[in-house]
Structure formats: C-alpha cells, structure tokens
C-alpha cells in the first residue's frame, strides 16, 4: 500500500520518495528477528507498528525518514522494548 506522503531522506541529499508500507514492515520484521523474536510474532508486531505509523501519517503529508523512525520506535517500544532499542540503534552503532 502506498500513501501519498513524501518522505524526505536522511540529510536531504537524496531525492524524496513516496512512503512505502512494505519497506517499513520489512525493517521492523528484520529488527524483531535480530532479537530472536519468532517469525509469526515479528510479522504481527510489524503489522501493528505499520498501522500506527500510517495513522500518524494521515495528518502529515511531508515527513523525514527520521520522523518515521521515531514514530515507529515509539510504537515498537510498546510491543517489544528490546527490538525498539535495536531499531533505534541501527544508525548509531558505528
């Protein structure tokens, strides 16, 4: 599913793109799997986080990828704090 929301990429150096639910879903699933969450549970957590992010996006036609990450982390923290921690750390590990 594609919402008509422009996502401005990190640093503003790359072209903005349309929000893609699948991309967010896959990144949440991948993070959950990294903390050894079973696949089914990871899919279910990702589904619920994506729904929350899409609800938030309805009121924001233009956002940065960092905004999406912050909102997704907030909702992921409710579902699985350890996965949320790792999701937040992805860009600040190195």
């Amino acid at each position: 599913m594609t919402l008509s929301v422009d996502v401005i990429k990190r640093g503003g150096q790359r072209q903005s793109e349309q929000f893609m639910r699948d991309k967010l879903h896959n990144s949440i699933v991948s993070t959950c799997l990294s903390v050894r969450v079973p696949t089914g549970q990871a899919e279910s957590i990702a589904h619920s986080v994506c729904e929350a992010v899409i609800a938030w996006l309805q009121q924001h036609p233009e956002v940065t990828s960092q905004d999406i990450r912050i909102v997704a982390t907030k909702h992921l923290r409710i579902q699985h704090p350890e996965a949320a921690y790792l999701y937040e750390q992805n860009r600040i590990t190195i």
Binding site: S34, Y85, L86, Q89, N90, T93, I94
Partner: protein, 237 residues
C-alpha cells in the same frame, strides 16, 4: 629488556587494542543484518568467523609492517629518541581517547570520519558472502588506525628487540589478546545471545571502556618511560 618484560608490554598494549570498539560495532551490526535476513545459524557463523579472521589478518599485517619499517630504519635497537617519540604519541592518543573516542550522542558511534562510518554501515548491510565479511574485518581494523597506532608502535618497538622465535610468539600473543573483545562477542552471538542485550551493555559501559583505554595507555607510557628512557639514562639497561 628481558623476554617476560617484553611480552608483558606486548600483552598490555594488546589489551588496550582490545578495548577499542570499531570491530565489535561492525560485528554486532553484521550479525543483526544476517539474523534479520533469516539466514541460517551456519551462515551467520560463517560470516562472523570470516569477519574475525579478517580482523586477525589485518592486525598481524599492521604489526608486522610497523615492525619491518622500524627494523629498516633503526635495526633491532631503536634509539632513545624513538622511544621518547612513541611515549609522546601515546600520551597524545590517550588524551584524544578521553576527549573524543565516542561521539557525544546516544548509541556507540565512534569518532571516526563520518564518510568511513557510512561506508562501513552500508557495506555491513550489503555483506552476504564470507569473502565480503573477511574484507569488512580487514577494513574495520584499518578504520581505527588513528587509535591503534599507539599500542601497535610500542609493541613493534619491543618486538624488534626480541630473538626471532620470540618475535613470532609476541606477534601471536598480540593478535590473540587484541581480538579478545571481538572473540567474546562472536561467541555470545554464536551461542544465541540477544544482540539487543549485547548492544545495551556496550552503550551502558562505553564511557568506562573509554576511560580504561586512555588510562591503559598512560600506564604503558609510565612503564616504558621508567624502563626504556630513565633506565637507559641512568644506565640500568
């Protein structure tokens, strides 16, 4: 200096090297991407083992190269001024570590050139084969050259004064000890520990590790100053 004393200096220098964190960060990230991409445990182990071997090979290459350069310039008995310069470099690196080693943000991001950090991040995500993981291991050690040059230089200065067989032993001791932190994380990941917990521990203790690295270098400088510089001046050596 006698052989046990020389090996003790090499061991302490290698421990300081082991407290540096770039390779551990890359290994954590590599494992996260691999587990997240639903790769099998065997493939995860292949990738992480190749990474560790790459880091070991680069450590051996760097220490051997620095030793070779020193032998070419000074033979097997470096002059006092080289020891003094190495001591000065170590104090400078220790201060840099205390001031700059970690970026003052959340996470465990290090004070390395931003472009290199982005490159390592992107390469880690793209790594699918053992050969790529091996290359990543090589790069991650080289990426920290600004900090590891101090323990490497001191170990090389000690190594070149040893008999040939002990040089090899010293090289092996340095490599194994300098990889200890990486090996511990590798074993934890291989045995199924959560990456979240490992990363949380690293973040919680990052300022302690930063302090220990700098303090270790200062202790090493004091020891070298006493044994090599003062010892030579007053005629103990």
């Amino acid at each position: 200096m006698d052989i046990p004393g020389s090996l003790a200096i090499i061991s302490l220098a290698a421990l300081i090297h082991a407290s540096f964190q770039l390779s551990v960060s890359v290994l954590t990230l590599l494992s996260g991407h691999s587990i997240g991409a639903k790769h099998s445990q065997a493939r995860l182990l292949r990738l992480t083992s190749s990474f560790v071997i790459g880091a070991a090979v680069m450590t051996v290459l760097l220490l051997s190269s620095v030793s070779l350069i020193l032998i070419q310039f000074y033979g097997s008995n470096p002059p006092l001024v080289v020891w003094a310069a190495a001591s000065g470099l170590m104090v400078g690196v220790a201060l840099c570590i205390w001031l700059f080693y970690y970026r003052h943000d959340k996470g465990t991001a290090l004070w390395i050139p931003k472009a290199f950090a982005v490159y390592l991040n992107d390469r880690t995500k793209a790594t699918k084969r053992s050969a790529e993981a091996f290359g990543l291991g090589l790069s991650s050690v080289f990426g920290e050259i600004l900090f590891i040059i101090a323990p490497l230089l001191v170990s090389a200065l000690v190594l070149i004064q040893l008999p040939a067989v002990w040089q090899l032993a010293g090289l092996a001791i340095y490599t194994v000890i300098s990889l200890l932190s990486l090996l511990i994380v590798w074993v934890l990941i291989g045995s199924g520990h959560s990456l979240g917990k490992i990363q949380k521990w690293r973040e919680s203790n990052k300022y302690f590790l930063q302090f220990v690295s700098g303090a270790g270098l200062i202790v090493l400088v004091l020891f070298i100053y006493a044994v090599e510089i003062l010892g030579s001046t007053v005629g103990f050596n």
